[in-house]
């Protein structure tokens, strides 16, 4: 019941927010997101990591096609649900002092998106999962289309067609799985299938295209920088903070336990692609002048490392990938928010002609620094824990490869610190009466919460790791069975 409540609350909230007049919808949306957070806390409170799938509910939906409404939460789902539901109130709060026209529709779409993404993370029936996966595409399509930057139409269509293409191949993959399994689409049934090698490869290919596009993994990434840059800030936060985790989660849920032999066979290729993505993304990020585009490529590069973790086939790598998903979500939201604040104050997001912000806006400069250091994976920040786990996991696979991937930490220090130095530090030499209003209350709340999360998850990762550990162990058993 609680799981269903997690899906329904934002849906209903979206409807209410549509009815609210003008800016009132923000308060409605925030309230709904906080209720949702409350439900998440209740689930977290009574969740027992060792018990596998919990809070599950299984109702017949389209019995003639073997489709059920089956939802439930295990450790892997929970961490993603946690991310989505922590992110949503922050994302809603992040537009409180911005002027957004048709704000009621905007907020409704954000909540709609949250509902669909939570649905993806808790669905245990392949078909239901697919419906939620596609459903998440509709609100972000309209968010980008209605509130995006000047070049949004082309970019939005590209994004949509790219992801839809992946999804349709995934659908064919699921139909093949359905035909193999007599019990329909149920996750447990699909895990127990023991498919033969060629079929595994075919299904892996069909599913992986969809997930690789969503994350994205090199060379399926070309929709991403444009979409991140053109989307409105909240859209970018949803995309990079939560939506790309749908791809990572899906590999955990629908690829690793179902077609493990195919993954083992292609491990080298997959890891190579991911490593290329790490280096390539970082290389381009170094050359960027637009802060938002820089963060977009940084995100692409960091996700490459998470993708490596997915395919290392060991506990450290899996744990790291899950932890880093949460971390990356928090950091990405923070970074894109900082870019938005700079744009809001100065009218553009270029790294040139800035500087001196630290002198006039110490709150902003400090909080920005904390979030940025989290991304750079400084020890005692959240990024360090995630990337450390990932690199250990990777080293179990290959030390040399891990050393190359480890460059991501150095690279990200290069582009992040340089950007920070150019934009925030130093003297402003363009105008004598330089003004930069420090954070407004709502901005301060968002960034303080994010900074606290950066530090807390960096200092004390144990509770989160304990949540996912039994699920990861079970997954490893399924893979090696």
């Amino acid at each position: 019941m609680l799981t269903t409540a997690l899906i329904l609350t934002p849906f209903i909230g979206a409807a209410i927010s549509l009815l609210a007049k003008g800016n009132n919808s923000r308060y409605v949306a925030l309230l709904v997101a906080l209720i949702q957070l409350g439900i998440t806390a209740a689930i977290l409170g009574s969740f027992i990591p060792e018990n596998g799938v919990q809070f599950d509910q299984n109702l017949a939906w389209i019995p003639s096609l073997g489709i059920n409404y089956h939802v439930g939460i295990d450790g892997i789902s929970l961490i993603m649900v946690l991310l989505a539901n922590i992110a949503a109130p922050l994302i809603i709060l992040s537009q409180f002092n911005r002027d957004i026209d048709r704000s009621h529709i905007y907020n409704a779409l954000i909540l709609f998106m949250q509902a669909a993404m939570v649905g993806v993370f808790v669905a245990l029936d392949g078909f239901l999962y697919y419906i939620f996966w596609e459903l998440a595409l509709i609100p972000i399509f309209f968010i980008m289309l209605g509130w995006g930057g000047p070049n949004r139409q082309a970019v939005t269509l590209k994004f949509f067609i790219y992801t839809l293409a992946g999804s349709l191949f995934m659908l064919v993959g699921f139909i093949l799985l359905y035909i193999q399994s007599d019990n329909g689409f149920d996750h447990t049934a699909l895990v127990g299938l023991n498919l033969d090698g060629d079929l595994q490869l075919l299904i892996f290919g069909l599913l992986f295209i969809a997930f690789a596009i969503k994350m994205p993994i090199f060379p399926f990434h070309s929709w991403q920088p444009g979409a991140y840059t053109e989307a409105p800030t909240q859209g970018t936060m949803l995309l990079s903070g939560v939506m790309l985790k749908m791809g990572i989660y899906s590999v955990f849920r629908w690829i690793l336990p179902i077609v493990p032999d195919a993954v083992a066979q292609l491990q080298g290729l997959l890891i190579t692609l991911a490593v290329i993505g790490i280096i390539y993304g970082a290389w381009i990020a170094i050359k960027q002048r637009d802060i938002k585009t820089l963060f977009a490529f940084a995100s692409f590069s960091h996700v490459g490392l998470i993708a490596v973790g997915l395919f290392t086939n060991n506990a450290m790598g899996f744990q790291g990938a899950l932890y880093q998903s949460l971390v990356h979500g928090i950091n990405a939201i923070g970074l894109f928010y900082c870019a938005d604040i700079i744009q809001n104050r100065l009218g553009d997001r270029l790294t040139e002609g800035k500087g001196g912000i630290r002198l006039v806006a110490p709150w902003f400069a400090t909080l920005f620094a904390i979030v940025m250091l989290g991304t750079v994976a400084l020890p005692l920040t959240n990024g360090f824990v995630g990337e450390f786990l990932l690199l250990i996991g990777f080293a179990e696979y290959s030390v040399w490869f891990a050393a190359i991937a480890g460059l991501t930490v150095i690279f990200s220090a290069v582009y992040m610190l340089r950007m920070y130095q150019l934009v925030i530090l130093g003297e402003n030499n363009t105008s004598s009466n330089f003004t930069f209003t420090d954070l407004f209350a709502s901005e301060k709340i968002v960034l303080v919460i994010l900074a606290l999360l950066v530090i807390f998850l960096g200092v004390y990762p144990q509770p989160i790791l304990k949540l996912t550990e039994p699920a990861v162990m079970q997954l490893l058993q399924q893979i090696n069975a």
Binding site: I62, L65, E134, L145, Q153, L157, A165, Y178
Partner: protein
């Protein structure tokens, strides 16, 4: 059968209503009659009666398809209030012709004798030739009528010739007898039979506008009055596929080889040509014409699969497609009224000006593109599943690629609706009938998409 008689009489009654100049009231009469016809169909459900020496058979398949077409026609007629707002008394004739088209459609899904098939096609087509050219002062409408008539006459010729050849080789006009002749191997001249089947197929492909017999479709769709185009895109396509499936399932299922390869090829090129051509259309009406071509390609997957679910798959697809297409044409009428033309350029910003219409149009086009949770997705999924279960992987892959191309042009329409630049909007008001059609199709698209269980199993 009762429904068929009722609708025939209804058509005549509506013609008489024209004499008394009951312009709008004749729509009430027609729609109420159609609702009664659906009720009669529901009453006949499960009876499976055949008439006239077994020449027509009203089984559940026929009843389901005729109910769908009846409802679609009723929705199109309701749009007549708005579309023929300024029409003179002669518009009543057009309503009667639409009803006669429906009569032809019902013959097509209930025949079990090839003579009825041919009569049905003619009853369906002749009113449509007139309807296509019914905008008498418009050159393109005249052209559409003429073109449709010439092409249709050719297609009928092919079909008739095909029927004759099938008769020559199997000795029967009855579906079941043809089927048993083929499966028992008693056919003497296989070559003649194959040519007959291919000629019949060609006739059908004309009617449902499949590549390479689709060239008439864009011009006829564009030239005909929009309401008539709506009827063509829905009822004619449903009837055509209802009839084609009956033919293959009843007679040719055991005929190995030739028809399967021909249909496979036609399906693949229909999907690709329809979708790729649609990419280059500047007008929404022409775009919908090519979209209708491409949907014929999807529906052919079920005929290729021809297993126990195939009939249901076609039926479900027809529902989803008809509902979304009626909505799309209703909104196209609105777009043309509001902006003067139907080009993509003209609809910029309309979604902001008219939020409800924009929303409805988005839902209709998302459904046509096959995005969940709309009905179009369920329909496509069911078709793909049916086809994959019969090991038709490659044609499904072609269909998937076409869907991706298709999504682009459908979504481009939506994207243009929500552009910031604004065009001139004419002050037009829409009546209750218009809004109820849009509302019903909107709700229908979502409900059928989310709760398809009953409809997926209706034909067993």
């Amino acid at each position: 059968m009762n429904a068929l008689i009722l609708i025939s009489l209804l058509g005549i009654a509506v013609l008489f209503a024209g004499i008394f100049n009951l312009k709008n009231r004749s729509i009430y009469l027609a729609v109420m009659g159609l609702v009664a016809a659906v009720a009669l169909n529901i009453g006949d459900w499960g009876t499976n009666v055949s008439y006239y020496n077994n020449m027509v058979q009203f089984d559940n398949y026929a009843l389901a398809f005729s109910s769908l077409m009846t409802i679609t026609t009723a929705l199109v007629l309701l749009l007549g209030f708005h579309f023929y707002k300024n029409g003179d008394g002669s518009t009543v004739d057009l309503y009667a012709l639409m009803l006669f088209t429906l009569v032809g459609g019902i013959c097509l899904v209930s025949y079990s004798h090839l003579a009825v098939l041919f009569i049905g096609i003619e009853i369906l087509s002749i009113p449509l030739y007139i309807l296509a050219g019914s905008k008498r002062d418009s050159l393109s409408s005249n052209e559409a009528g003429m073109k449709y008539f010439l092409m249709g006459a050719f297609a009928s010729g092919f079909l008739l010739f095909g029927i004759a050849l099938v008769f020559v080789s199997t000795g029967s006009f009855h579906l079941a007898e043809i089927g048993s002749a083929i499966s028992s191997g008693s056919v003497e001249n296989k070559g003649v039979l194959s040519v007959g089947i291919l000629l019949m197929l060609a006739g059908f492909l004309f009617k449902v506008a499949a590549v390479p017999f689709h060239f008439w479709a864009p011009d006829v769709y564009e030239g005909s009055p929009t309401l008539v185009t709506g009827l063509m895109a829905t009822v004619v396509k449903t009837a055509g596929f209802g009839a084609l499936y009956k033919l293959y399932q009843g007679s040719f299922a055991n005929m190995e080889g030739i028809w399967f390869d021909a249909l496979w090829t036609v399906a693949a090129i229909t999907l690709l040509v329809g979708n790729i051509s649609a990419l280059y259309q500047k007008g929404i009406k022409r775009l919908l014409a090519y979209s209708s071509v491409s949907h014929a390609g999807y529906m052919m997957l079920a005929i290729l699969a021809l297993n126990t679910q195939a009939g249901n798959a076609i039926f479900f697809y027809s529902i989803a497609y008809s509902v979304a297409t009626v909505a799309a044409f209703a909104l196209l009428i609105a777009v043309i009224d509001l902006r003067g033309t139907d080009t993509l350029e003209a609809i910029k910003g309309l979604g902001h000006k008219k939020p409800f219409l924009g929303f409805a149009m988005s839902v209709a086009f998302l459904s046509l593109a096959g995005i969940p949770p709309m009905a179009g997705f369920m329909a496509k999924y069911y078709l793909f599943k049916t086809a994959i279960e019969m090991n038709l992987i490659w044609i499904v892959i072609v269909a998937v690629i076409s869907s991706i191309i298709g999504a682009y042009y459908y979504l481009r329409v939506i994207a243009t609706l929500y552009q910031k630049t604004d065009g001139e909007t004419n002050p037009v008001s829409f009546d209750w009938a218009f809004y109820s059609v849009v509302g019903l199709t909107l709700v229908g698209t979502l409900v059928v998409g989310l709760f398809p269980e009953q409809l997926l199993t209706i034909l067993g």
